[in-house]
C-alpha cells in the first residue's frame, strides 16, 4: 500500500486560504472519487470539495474553524501500490442516456 497526500486546491479568485467548516469523511473510511470530502469557507463563499481520489482516508488536516493555506496538506489517502503515482484515475464515461434540448421553438414572426 502507498500513501498519497492532497493539498488544499487553488480555489480561484486569488484566494490563499480557507477555513474548515466540517469534514464529511473520517480516517479509516473508504471514499470514492468525487465523493464530498469537506466543506470549507473562504472570504467569498462556502465550498464543498469533492475527493480527487478513491482510497482509504489515512489522515485529515484541520478541524472546524482551522485555517488551511492553499497548497498545504488537506488529506492523505492509502491506495494500492499499483495506483500510487496516478493522480485521480478517470472513470469511464458512459454514453449519454438522455439529452435535453432547451432551444425554444420560436414562432415564425
Amino acid at each position: 500500500m502507498a500513501e498519497i497526500s492532497f493539498p488544499l486546491p487553488d480555489l480561484g479568485e486569488g484566494l490563499i486560504e480557507a477555513t474548515v467548516l466540517e469534514w464529511l469523511v473520517s480516517p479509516g473510511e473508504q471514499v470514492e472519487r468525487n465523493q464530498p470530502l469537506v466543506e470549507v469557507e473562504t472570504t467569498k463563499s462556502a465550498v464543498e470539495l469533492p475527493s480527487p481520489q478513491a482510497g482509504k482516508v489515512v489522515r485529515i488536516y484541520g478541524g472546524p474553524g482551522d485555517k488551511i493555506n492553499v497548497g498545504e496538506p488537506l488529506i492523505v489517502f492509502e491506495v494500492p501500490d499499483n495506483t500510487a503515482g496516478i493522480v485521480g484515475t478517470v472513470p469511464k464515461e458512459e454514453a449519454p442516456k438522455r439529452r435535453v434540448r432547451l432551444s425554444a421553438v420560436l414562432d415564425e414572426d
Binding site: 466543506e39 464543498e48 425554444a104
Partner: protein, 275 residues
C-alpha cells in the same frame, strides 16, 4: 458527477424583450421519476457559486432529481440588460414560469409524482420562491427556503450612497448598504451596475411576505448565527395561517454565508422534497 446538461441563454421572450437569462437543465443518471427542482440563488451569487460549488447540484442529481438552474439577471452567466424592467421581481417570476415550462415542468396532477415543480431558494432566491409559490399553486409542489427574509434588506438599500461610493469613495453610512455592496464587489465577475439596477427594481416592488402566501408545504432553513433564524417563525406562522404545512430547520453554528454548504441543509431538503 455533474450529470448531463445543456445550457444556453434563455431566448423565449415573455414581455417582448429578451431577458438574457442563463438556464441549465441537469439530468440525473438514475431518474427517481419525481418532478424537476428549480434552484434560485441569492443576491450577488450565481448558480455556480450557490448550487454547484457548494455541492447541491451533485447531491440532488445523486438523489435522482432533475434540476433546473437559472442565473438571475446581471448575475453569473446571464446577461445584464440595460432596461430596469428586466430586473423587477414580477418580470423575473414571469420569465421563470416560462423557463420551467420550456424545461418540461407541468402542472400538478393528483397521483403523478412527476408532475409539478419543487423550488429551492436561498436569500433573495427564497423571496422569489415564496412569491412564485404563492402565485403558482397549480404548479409548485413544495418549497425549500434557505436564509429567508421577512423584511427586505434590498428595499432599504441606500442607492445614492452606493453610487457616491462607487464614484469617489465617499464612505457609506448605512451598515446594511455598505455590507451588501461589499459583498457584491467581492466577486470580480459581478456586474455591479446590473446589481444596482436589480436593487432599484426591487425598491419598486419591495418584498412583503404577508401580501401573498404560499399554501404548499414549506421547509424553512437558516443558520443559527443568521439573524433570519430568529424571524423564521414569523414566516412559518404566515404559512400555517394560510393552511400550509411548515417545517423549520436551524443549522447549528452556521451563518448566512456558510449555511449553504451544510449537509444537514441538503439532506433535509432532499428528504422534504422526496415525496
Amino acid at each position: 458527477m455533474s450529470g448531463r446538461h445543456t445550457g444556453e441563454q434563455h431566448s423565449h421572450t415573455v414581455e417582448g424583450t429578451d431577458p438574457q437569462l442563463y438556464v441549465q437543465v441537469h439530468e440525473p443518471q438514475n431518474d427517481a421519476g419525481l418532478r424537476p427542482v428549480l434552484l434560485l440563488h441569492g443576491f450577488s451569487s450565481s448558480s455556480k457559486l450557490n448550487w454547484e460549488d457548494s455541492g447541491w447540484l451533485t447531491a440532488l442529481l445523486e438523489a435522482g432529481r432533475r434540476v433546473i438552474t437559472v442565473d438571475l439577471p446581471g448575475h453569473g452567466r446571464s446577461g445584464a440588460p440595460e432596461d430596469m424592467d428586466s430586473y423587477s421581481p414580477s418580470r423575473i417570476r414571469a420569465d421563470l414560469l416560462q423557463i420551467v415550462f420550456d424545461a418540461g415542468a407541468r402542472p400538478l396532477r393528483d397521483g403523478d409524482p412527476s408532475s409539478g415543480l419543487d423550488v429551492i431558494g436561498y436569500s433573495l432566491g427564497s423571496r422569489l420562491a415564496w412569491e412564485f409559490g404563492a402565485t403558482q399553486h397549480e404548479l409548485v409542489h413544495r418549497l425549500v427556503l434557505g436564509g429567508p427574509n421577512v423584511a427586505d434588506p434590498l428595499a432599504d438599500f441606500d442607492l445614492i450612497a452606493a453610487q457616491r461610493y462607487l464614484a469617489d469613495g465617499t464612505p457609506i453610512a448605512d451598515e446594511s448598504t455598505a455590507g451588501l455592496l461589499k459583498m457584491a464587489m467581492l466577486l470580480p465577475s459581478n456586474n455591479i451596475f446590473a446589481l444596482l439596477s436589480l436593487v432599484e427594481a426591487i425598491k419598486t416592488e419591495p418584498y412583503d411576505p404577508a401580501e401573498a402566501v404560499p399554501h404548499m408545504p414549506m421547509l424553512l432553513v437558516a443558520g443559527e448565527k443568521d439573524d433570519r433564524a430568529a424571524s423564521m417563525p414569523e414566516l412559518a406562522a404566515l404559512g400555517a395561517k394560510a393552511g400550509g404545512m411548515v417545517e423549520q430547520l436551524v443549522l447549528p453554528g452556521r451563518n448566512h454565508t456558510n449555511a449553504i454548504t451544510s449537509r444537514a441543509f441538503k439532506q433535509g431538503a432532499i428528504s422534504f422534497l422526496g415525496v
